[in-house]
């Protein structure tokens, strides 16, 4: 592998890692702060992708679709928390797993009823459809850089929200000790609804921005779910910073594994997870 190819693969690693981060961030938030194991997280990713497909067909503007989709997903998450998830905080993890596992099937069926079972493409917006030449045979699509940019922006926004705002302070307090935070006057119920809705919106945004790259198809959510959990576990459950580092790490291992060690590439990510867990059972950044 020459230097140029090496650098391009690094670029691929980071770009894939950033997308993984955006997917895993919502999961780690919900898991870490509210203690809910959410297997349906992949479904929210699928929901986002199909929203992008459904809305761009009507609005013909990708930017507007993105904004509208994020709002819809947030509202959807809010309703889901109020109507369903808040009854499960005190329940056993197994109950949560059963609930969210059931939700996967429910959402798949709804998707099938609303949008059908076909594979659909979402057009890349015109202003992002170009690409830049990297070598004489390879070019890099602008849209991939755009996705990386969106992920990076959201990562920064999330960090600022949690570490630099009052809401973020409450979230951290709630994660640390729910009862104590409540006793001190934090409206925990509202807080949880916000966090849950945010998690759903993050997954949906990830689905929306990747829709033009990946096309939308049935069961697309379950494919990303496992990778999400790997990232969350490596990073340390509930740690946004950990999820970020872990996502980049997983992206790199996956990218170079496919090229350099194709025979064992499919298990390299899990080997990485096993090694991290041996070294730090709580994950990289769990306090």
């Amino acid at each position: 592998m020459g230097l140029a190819d090496f650098l391009i693969q690094i670029l691929n690693s980071v770009q894939y890692g950033l997308l993984l981060f955006m997917l895993a961030a919502g999961l780690t938030l919900i898991f870490g702060i509210m203690g809910v194991v959410n297997l349906a997280h992949g479904s929210f990713y699928m929901l986002g992708a199909y929203l992008a497909y459904g809305i761009t067909a009507k609005l013909s503007s990708f930017g507007l679709a993105l904004a509208a989709g994020a709002v819809i997903a947030f509202a959807f998450g809010w309703l889901l928390e109020k109507g369903l998830f808040r009854f499960f905080y005190t329940r056993d993890h197994l109950d949560q797993v059963l609930l969210t596992f059931g939700l996967i099937y429910l959402f798949e069926e709804l998707r099938s009823i609303v949008w059908g079972n076909d594979v659909h493409g979402v057009p890349i917006p015109d202003w992002l459809s170009g690409s830049m030449a990297l070598t004489d045979t390879l070019s890099y699509p602008h849209y991939r850089l755009f996705v990386a940019g969106v992920c990076l922006l959201l990562a920064l926004a999330l960090w600022a929200l949690i570490h630099r705002t009052r809401l973020g302070m409450h979230i951290r307090a709630g994660a640390f000790n729910r009862t104590m935070a409540q006793a001190l006057g934090v409206d925990i119920e509202r807080l949880y609804a916000i966090v849950f809705a945010m998690g759903v919106a993050l997954a949906a945004i990830a689905g929306m921005v990747s829709a033009p790259l990946s096309s939308v198809y049935p069961n697309m959510g379950s494919q990303v779910l496992i990778m999400c959990f790997v990232v969350v576990v490596i990073g340390g459950i509930g740690s946004i910073r950990g999820a970020f580092i872990a996502a980049i790490l997983v992206g790199t291992v996956d990218t170079f594994g496919k090229v350099l060690l194709p025979g064992v590439a499919s298990m390299l990510v899990y080997v990485l997870m096993a090694l991290v867990l041996l070294w730090r059972p709580q994950g990289l950044f769990k306090d």
Binding site: Q15, H120, T137, V216
Partner: protein, 250 residues
């Protein structure tokens, strides 16, 4: 057991020779690392190497992952004459899109087992244009038999038939051939099976017969995506039989 569809290595068994004939002697193979991908690879390796082609590298990723970017970068670095692949469904649409977005389309021709472009051409859009594949059927097959079949089907079901429809239709044709031979007496097994083994099926895909291992001996068409359709540009292999390796009839 009788099969009226195809075996997984059959489409690619027709692909190798066609690629060499079109002047592509060095190819990279890429697929998902799972049973169907490996079977497709076996067919490709047999036919491509027999025709004098060299597979310079085989690339793969776990099924059903669709993160192709690292592998596309590798293809761009290897600069083969052509790329051959097996993908299907949503992954196939994404592969063609990523292939085009990486700037490989138009520089390194893309070939594949026909499922690459079945049912996903609309989703893949412009990225699918020009992709060449081999399959035992094409929606746009220009025969009277196929046209009348498609018209009748569309009128009855208000739907467009596809390769899977044809396979289902042919299963019924095969059963009818058997049933006629025994005049409806399905207990007359010997005669029933003999009739099915020797049936000549006049299918919308073209006439075909049964091989010794009960798999269709059929023509494989070379198809190129033109304006969103799998246009037939030739016959890649006449009356191709699956080698049926390791298949023994009881």
């Amino acid at each position: 057991m009788f099969r009226t569809s195809f075996s997984n290595s059959q489409p690619t068994l027709a692909l190798g020779k066609a690629m060499v004939q079109r002047g592509h002697k060095k190819a990279v193979w890429i697929t998902w690392n799972y049973a169907a991908g490996e079977e497709a690879f076996e067919g490709f390796k047999l036919s491509y190497e027999a025709a004098g082609g060299t597979i310079i590298k085989t690339l793969g990723l776990p099924f059903p992952q669709v993160e192709f970017q690292a592998l596309l970068t590798e293809i761009a670095a290897l600069k083969p004459d052509a790329v051959a692949c097996f993908f299907a469904g949503g992954g196939a649409a994404k592969f063609m899109q990523d292939y085009a977005a990486a700037g490989l389309k138009g520089k390194i021709p893309l070939y594949g087992s026909g499922f690459l472009t079945e049912g996903v051409i609309d989703a893949a859009g412009a990225a699918a244009e020009g992709v060449i594949s081999t399959l035992h059927y094409s929606d746009s097959l220009e025969t009277e038999r196929n046209k009348s079949f498609r018209l009748a089907y569309a009128k009855t079901f208000k739907l467009q038939p596809d390769v899977y429809t044809v396979q289902g239709y042919d299963s019924a044709l095969l059963l009818i051939a058997g049933a006629n031979a025994v005049k409806g007496d399905f207990n007359n097994r010997k005669v029933l099976y003999d009739a099915m083994e020797n049936a000549k099926i006049n299918s919308p895909r073209g006439p075909w017969t049964m091989s010794k291992s009960h798999n269709p001996v059929q023509d494989f068409y070379l198809r190129q995506v033109v304006k969103g359709e799998n246009k037939v540009i030739g016959v890649a292999a006449k009356a191709l039989a699956d080698p049926g390796t390791g298949c023994r009839m009881g």
